[in-house]
Symmetry: C2
Subunit: 357 residues, 2 copies
């Protein structure tokens, strides 16, 4: 791959930019995208930035049949001084490669892809919105493209990066949400694909999501697939509880995603001297703590919302109201700190942000 020069083909036909404080997530895309191909014989080749355009694939392309695909999600933020900042992007590329390994997809060169990514953002810099809470969402993904119905790893792939300006996750401040503890469907199990960001993990949750929504819940809290006892994660977020002054989050047990927001929160809490433990926590333990009055805060964490306070949990008819449906002090502080670092308002002592020139 080393001799590969990035080719750039600019569009003649720029799209109008939307009002970024109103647009729904994931429906608007910028003028350009990054594409690179893979063949077994040549490795990754032909890295290029081209006008955003449809993909043409044979109906027997493997992506349509056997789900060999991985993706990432991160954001570019506009600082007050107009700089454009990425938040721990190399973590995303490392995770992409870990996901690829699980799906038998060849790895990308993280350094080169970081270069391509920043070149793309740089070209599309006018698309990075500046309103509070907005960002440019970045979606790198890899799909298997070989035309073949044999159940086996593909010999060809496409790696792409597309960009989508996104409005604030919560309009009008952080709003605690209601979550349903799912007792029937399973998201992932040890030995499966739960630790990878791969397509099949998401659609398999739609039925549980619909069940939750029907009862007025915003999201699903997944339990482990073996015993249906231990707490795993929420939809596209990791989960944290503040219990009697200590922050607890499920350990990386081989079936949950290693969230970059989760990782950052643990590092912040340690720096602040707030006790935090990564461990197994059962839903029964959580309910007992709740009944004894020790459940002080609960929040989901992820790139989309950063912090999403949980105001209520429902588990088989047991209702746990957290902090009177109000956002907790620690949740708010974590939100302010991380979004502050992401947008250059709070000093970045961890070297988490990367500026796009």
């Amino acid at each position: 791959m080393s001799e590969q020069k990035l080719e750039i083909v600019k569009t003649e036909d720029k799209k109008p930019k939307p009002e970024t404080d109103q647009i729904p997530f994931g429906k608007t895309f910028t003028d350009h995208m990054f594409v690179m191909d893979y063949e077994t014989d040549s490795g990754w080749y032909n890295p290029r930035i081209v006008p955003y355009e449809p993909l043409t694939l044979d109906p027997a392309a493997m992506i349509f049949h056997y789900g060999q695909t991985v993706f990432e999600g991160l954001k570019a933020y506009r600082a007050e001084d107009d700089r454009i900042l990425l938040f721990r992007p190399s973590q995303n590329l490392q995770r992409l490669n870990r996901s690829s390994e699980r799906l038998s997809i060849p790895p990308i060169d993280e350094e080169r892809v970081m270069y391509y990514l920043t070149q793309l953002i740089s070209l599309e810099q006018d698309w990075v919105p500046s309103t509070q809470g907005t960002a440019l969402y970045i979606r790198p993904f890899i799909i298997a493209t070989e035309t073949n119905l044999a159940v086996a790893p593909s010999h060809s792939y496409k790696f792409m990066i597309i960009l989508s300006p996104v409005g604030p996750y919560f309009s009008g401040g952080l709003k605690p949400v209601k979550i349903n503890v799912e007792d029937q469907f399973t998201r992932a199990v040890k030995g499966g694909t739960g630790t990878a960001k791969t397509a099949g993990n998401y659609s398999s949750g739609y039925q549980a999501q619909a069940k939750a929504n029907k009862e007025g819940h915003a999201d699903v809290l997944w339990l482990d697939g073996v015993e249906k006892r231990y707490i795993e994660e929420v939809g596209s977020m990791n989960i944290f509880f503040k219990i009697n002054g200590e922050v607890v989050t499920p350990e990386l047990n081989g079936s949950i995603l290693n969230g970059i927001t989760r990782m950052s929160i643990i590092e912040l809490l340690k720096k602040w001297g707030i006790p935090v433990s990564e461990r197994k926590i059962s839903i029964a333990e959580l309910y007992q703590v709740y009944e004894e009055g020790g459940l002080e805060e609960a929040f989901g964490t992820g790139t989309a919302a950063v912090i999403s306070p949980v105001g209520e949990l429902n588990w088989l008819g047991h209702q746990m109201v957290v902090n009177n449906h109000e956002i907790g002090e620690l949740s708010q502080k974590l939100y302010d700190t991380i979004t502050g670092i992401q947008t250059g308002k709070v000093e970045d002592r961890h070297e988490w942000t990367v500026e796009v020139q």
Copy 2:
């Protein structure tokens, strides 16, 4: 959907037909394909048979990101008297709808789709090969096509049927294969998607498959994802054991696929008065039976091979050689009967075959 008329656009440019006793599985496709679209407002619409051609999709089409897709696999066989026969095709369409339900995909009208399918086969009848062991493989599939990165069911879909002539699965008679019992990776778990034919279930097995191949095994025998004790299925096949005169196959427990070959074998065995039981069977039990000399035959079952005799099983270093690496009498009889019915050589008392006019 009731007023939808099937549109047929014929190609001007027919491809040469391959030598069917040599072609590899799933790489050659016929001249036409069936396509139909879905939008939430209109349901399934615009059913059409068109020249086989690439698909054009936005890079943000949901199929590339969240894996909302299902598929089926069945075959059209050429009888000696030149008739074209399908084997229990309505079972495939019923299973497609069950898979779709699990993936939150809207159902298709089974009767209408059966009509479209037979029209397509009829148009492509010259592609149904006649050499012993060959067939025209039929791949119906549905993909989510909405351009949207939100993690939620798509509002639009494409249903397609593509056709691929296939050579014999085993050239030169049935060959017993070696199978590795996978003790680390998991295919499926109760509450997951194991009972559905959906893309993510397949690529998640590639690592275990590679591990097996490396040790000279043709395939993987999966154990249950909860206790790693009970036998589930093999790659793309269900599994049967003949133990002390009784045939045993894992019960439909909520994580294995309800195979149509499996179902047919159980019906045949019952008719023949051979004891057959669908039950939990642990790998430890199987090994004990083997050591006591009671493991008489083992075979995988599926549309691709019909019967794939197992000559050797390896479980954590324990080797079980089945029937001296030779095909068992019952395996052979089941193979002859089912392939005989499929190709019109054996009388079809079950009304399993459907003739394409």
